[in-house]
Symmetry: C2
Subunit: 358 residues, 2 copies
């Protein structure tokens, strides 16, 4: 994993200054002599920069099946960069980093974070690598928002885009779910207005936030086929539940997540998604924003069973593209796994991404 | 509102005895001489027996537009009974009632409640009114489960059924949502293992449970059209949210609910829904259960946008009916309002119910 430290304080989208800013990133493949084969991959809310294994780090990444030599995002042809989002806690600066003024973690003193800040700080990494225009920017989920935030601020930044199970603006149903996730975290008595400690962690709030996340990431149809009404024996039955396999599945996922992700970082990134609207500096005219970019084409992928970023979100992006000269294709895939399908259903997601990049 | 006190302790479905049991109910219309025009209406999780206004209680009921003279459930033709579910807190015995052994509310000492107990206790009210067989049993949501629980235990109890946005067994997605709602309540520090008091109420847990309920009761499409990304000014912005109208809408609904419904009753009824499976005493063969009943026909209504009781639930009931001699019709309605549509979209729900009963 590489680290890049910004030379200047970051002027944030909502009008504050943040310093110091370090971003963690990984790369795959080689930049060609023309510096024209770079792909920037933005992530969803919780993954880090380790999208796939490499010589430096042979451990499997979160998109292992999608990225690598001969894979749909082919690292023998492209120079691929994946950056841990600003505000996250997996190597990049975020609310859990040290505030130099206090010598303690920033927590709620961290500046209000916008998706635009994730994009703008990441763009400095790309420039640092000697790239002035990306061949393609790819973003699933929150990463698709970040891709649009990049184009909004740096219209010449990319020639092509793959937007996956994402949106040009947060819809009210997704806002409701994320708002409730954050409420679960900050109403946990251990939250302590952001002053939680290792021995006093908002476990209960993080557990519920993750469970609600899983509910919004998957689909009823998948769970019907996968769990039906099978009983569980992994956990003791509680007042509230733990009778059925679907409950133990959620519990196991939540327990894993609690120790992995900082609650404050989660709240900041989640809120940034709600705030995001790619067209807010263009009188809510997304076509106008897109028209000013160097984008030549776009591939927009979505899934019928996605609750959090439903097909209507991807359709809205495609409709805006219709009014521009940007060639684009919207594919509505039949995956069962809802919003998470891009991580799992490589059989459906791999071929169109491979074809588009070829 | 009438009250009926069971003569004997209720032997519960899960093998306990409950006494005393009082059920609150209301009626509309007149029982005919043949006692053949009775309709029993079971409710969803939270409503009480006051389904519609009457001379005794002129206040509007929860299904005012559906029930009354000349309405789809026509009280000039039918004698309609609506009973507050056992376990609820709106007049009938439930976990918030006094436990005679302790002189305090039952709370978690209340016997484990099953949907079958709601049906069996309600059947005693029907018999008390001199009715041996219902013309029709109607149930929306949890009420549709209760209707099947009635037929499962008393196969001769009804000739016709209207099952609305309901299921013959809880599906894993709905279980996940309800399990998380209960978790929010019982992990609230004020829950106190059920020993909450008026001055120490699990407000935070009930608020989150209700918000998650609303998320599962409505649809993304409705909220997109209704709220889009409109800002709100009703509540102060918090760490977690309150920027958008959809958030203030949820907050207002939650605040109203907190004082209206007992947390313990909520947990008991919610858990009973998860446990319910209409075919569990018939080797999971729902057709076998239905075949043993006096049912002559059934109307099954569902909504495309329902997340909690998706159309696949109603289709499963219809498929089971296909193997029986019971005439039945499944209507998939185009309402925007998701699971709650039966309460709101009377234009779509009224006509088929009127036609079926005529």
């Amino acid at each position: 994993m590489h680290k890049f430290k910004l030379k200047q304080p970051l002027q944030t989208w909502r009008g504050e200054a943040l310093s110091p800013v370090t971003l963690a990133y990984e790369t795959w493949g080689e930049l060609n002599a023309e510096r024209s084969n770079a792909i920037l991959l933005f992530t969803g809310l919780s993954p880090g920069a380790h999208a796939a294994s490499s010589e430096d780090d042979p451990e499997s990444g979160w998109w292992e099946a999608m990225l690598g030599p001969g894979k749909p995002i082919d690292s023998t042809r492209f120079f691929v960069i994946c950056i841990n989002s600003l505000g996250s806690c997996l190597g990049s600066t975020g609310p859990d980093s040290l505030n130099p003024a206090s010598g303690k973690p920033w927590r709620l003193d961290f500046p209000e974070l916008a998706i635009e800040d994730i994009a703008a700080s990441s763009w400095q990494v790309v420039q640092h690598l000697g790239i002035t225009q990306l061949h393609c920017v790819i973003g699933p989920s929150m990463g698709g928002m970040t891709a649009l935030a990049l184009l909004k601020q740096f219209p010449q930044s990319a020639r092509h885009m793959i937007s996956i199970s994402s949106a040009a603006a947060a819809n009210p149903f997704a806002i409701a779910i994320r708002s409730l996730q954050r409420e679960a975290i900050v109403t946990d008595p251990n939250w302590q207005n952001g002053h939680y400690s290792d021995s006093c962690w908002p476990i209960s709030g993080m557990r519920m936030a993750r469970k609600l996340g899983m509910i919004s990431y998957r689909s009823a149809l998948e769970w019907q086929q996968r769990f039906d009404r099978q009983p569980q024996s992994q956990f003791a039955t509680t007042t509230y539940g733990m009778n059925f396999q679907v409950e133990s599945y959620l519990e196991a996922h939540a327990l894993k997540f609690i120790g992995q992700f900082d609650p404050c970082c989660y709240v900041y990134l989640s809120r940034a998604m709600d705030w995001f609207d790619a067209s807010d500096r263009h009188d809510d005219d997304l076509s106008a924003m897109l028209s000013q970019t160097a984008l030549q084409s776009a591939l927009i992928l979505g899934v019928h069973t996605d609750l959090l970023f439903p097909l209507s979100d991807q359709q809205a992006l495609a409709v805006a593209m219709d009014k521009t000269g940007i060639r684009h294709e919207l594919l509505a895939l039949d995956s069962l796994q809802g919003h998470d399908a891009f991580l799992i259903d490589i059989d459906r997601f791999g071929p169109p991404i491979h074809r588009y990049l070829a």
